[in-house]
């Protein structure tokens, strides 16, 4: 029965290999491993194939061209190195290998691993968070410097600070920047300067050196002191390419001590130039402004109304005259037109005036009660009538009445 149940859970080779692949690749997706280089082959494709081994074991490695281009030292057979990479399983061959992406000489590799571990720890604790970064003062009154009192770094910084912004006073806390105890001295100096509270920015740093030389700035003690300080801190360690833990936790990183000095103060030449520019601009703007007010005033003073009120009256009077004249002319015209219309009416009237007819020799027959006789119906024989002529009338009687023949 036991055999039967075991048979039921039997895996195929592919299934087993797939499971191994998943397990290994998940667990070893990013590892540091130290060993001796052997069987190194630089393939024409640019990829490197080699084994890493120690007394007890070996592991096949490949480092592709893209990654091995950044390896800055010559690797040779038998060399002790520290390699970073991931495990990859190749099922068709049933083999696993390390795909390397970084390689360091062994001694440096140890420091590097320690550095990476601390970086990871601090990062996970939120020590690199942008929210923790304090703003640097724009015009510091006093600058605290934690560095070695000897050497080029302090001299460079002092020269630059003096040239650029002599207003800022400087307080140097001299420390050892390398060797045993350096980290303790640096962190103590940060604490003391921060507690004094008279510096409004601190520079901590040193000039270039090996990874070992710069080591104090990678120690947690220093990182904690930087994080605990209320004073803004600029980290300026080594050259451009060197990056230390202090760079990550400081409020600002400067690539070199000189760069830090340039970063934290303005250049007085720029300021003086700006003052010249500004005072010119201010004067000019003000002048323009006053000028425009003057012009406005002038234009008001010269305005028609203020200058010659009489002119306006004159013009008004003239307008009035003009209107009056027009009115008069219009009236005359109207009167003339009306007059000629009257003549016409008079002529028309004259044409139908019965008195004018009498003048032409016609007479008008009227009854005694002044009705004009128009028909034989109006009168009978013996009726008295009046005959009107142009200069008088006759009294008469009707002798006979006779209708017109049709």
């Amino acid at each position: 029965m036991a055999l039967q149940s075991e048979l039921n859970t039997t895996l195929t080779v592919s299934q087993l290999t797939g499971s191994i692949q998943q397990t290994l690749e998940e667990k070893y997706s990013a590892v540091w491993v130290k060993g001796e280089v052997s069987n190194l082959t630089r393939h024409s494709s640019g990829h490197w194939y080699f084994s890493l081994k120690d007394r007890g074991a070996q592991i096949g490695c490949v480092m592709f061209r893209r990654e091995n281009q950044s390896v800055r030292f010559e690797i040779t057979h038998g060399m002790e190195v520290t390699v970073h990479g991931r495990i990859s399983v190749y099922p068709p061959h049933g083999k696993y290998q390390l795909i390397a992406d970084q390689m360091l000489p062994a001694g440096q590799g140890d420091l590097h691993m320690a550095l990476e571990a601390l970086k990871k720890k601090l990062y996970e604790a939120g020590a690199f968070s942008a929210e923790l970064k304090k703003n640097l003062p724009r015009y510091p009154k006093k600058i605290g410097i934690v560095t070695s009192p000897t050497g080029a770094a302090i001299q460079d910084m002092l020269n630059i600070l003096k040239r650029r912004f002599p207003i800022a006073d400087i307080l140097l806390y001299p420390v050892r920047v390398q060797g045993d105890g350096a980290a303790a001295e640096i962190s103590h100096a940060i604490k003391i300067l921060d507690q004094r509270g008279d510096c409004d920015v601190l520079i901590i740093g040193r000039g270039g050196g090996s990874l070992e030389d710069l080591w104090a700035f990678n120690e947690e003690l220093v990182a904690r002191a930087i994080l605990a300080a209320d004073t803004p801190i600029v980290s300026a360690v080594g050259h451009e390419t060197d990056t230390t833990i202090s760079d990550y936790v400081a409020d600002q990183r400067a690539p070199t001590p000189s760069a830090a000095a340039e970063l934290i103060v303005p250049d007085q030449r720029d300021l003086l130039e700006r003052y010249d520019f500004l005072s010119n601009a201010l004067r000019q703007t003000l002048r323009k402004r006053i000028l425009s007010y003057e012009q406005k005033l002038d234009s008001i003073r010269d305005s028609y109304a203020l200058k010659k009120p009489v002119l306006i009256l004159d013009r008004l009077a003239q307008t009035l005259d003009h209107h009056e004249e027009n009115l008069f002319r219009n009236l005359q015209q109207k009167i003339r037109e009306d007059g000629s219309r009257l003549d016409l009416i008079e002529q028309g009237l004259n044409a139908v005036n019965p008195l004018r007819i009498l003048e032409r020799g016609y007479t008008v027959l009227e009854t005694p009660d002044k009705h004009i006789v128009r028909s034989i119906q109006d009168l009978s024989k013996g009726d008295p009538v009046q005959i009107r002529v142009k200069d008088g009338r006759f009294g008469a009687r009707i002798e006979s009445v006779e209708a017109n023949k049709k």
Partner: protein, 75 residues
């Protein structure tokens, strides 16, 4: 100035504020003249601060008992 002497940073802050005001706001002629004069005074004050600056450089000496003293550095 009546109170404690203003820091360079304070003078610069005041100057920049006035410049912004002069550039941005619609000031009356009186206000503009007053602000401009004040800005010019500030510029002169800043300039003379820079020109007369005597940088003090000290080294902090810590004794074994933890007390500290300052020692000027000559350069």
């Amino acid at each position: 100035m009546s109170k404690k002497e203003s820091s360079f940073d304070e003078l610069m802050g005041e100057l920049e504020g006035l410049v912004v005001k002069l550039e941005g706001e619609d000031l009356s002629l009186d206000q503009a003249i007053e602000s401009s004069e004040k800005a010019l005074d500030l510029i002169n004050a800043c300039r003379s601060r820079l020109e007369s600056a005597k940088q003090r450089i000290d080294k902090l000496i810590e004794k074994a008992d933890g007390s500290t003293s300052l020692e000027p550095i000559e350069d």
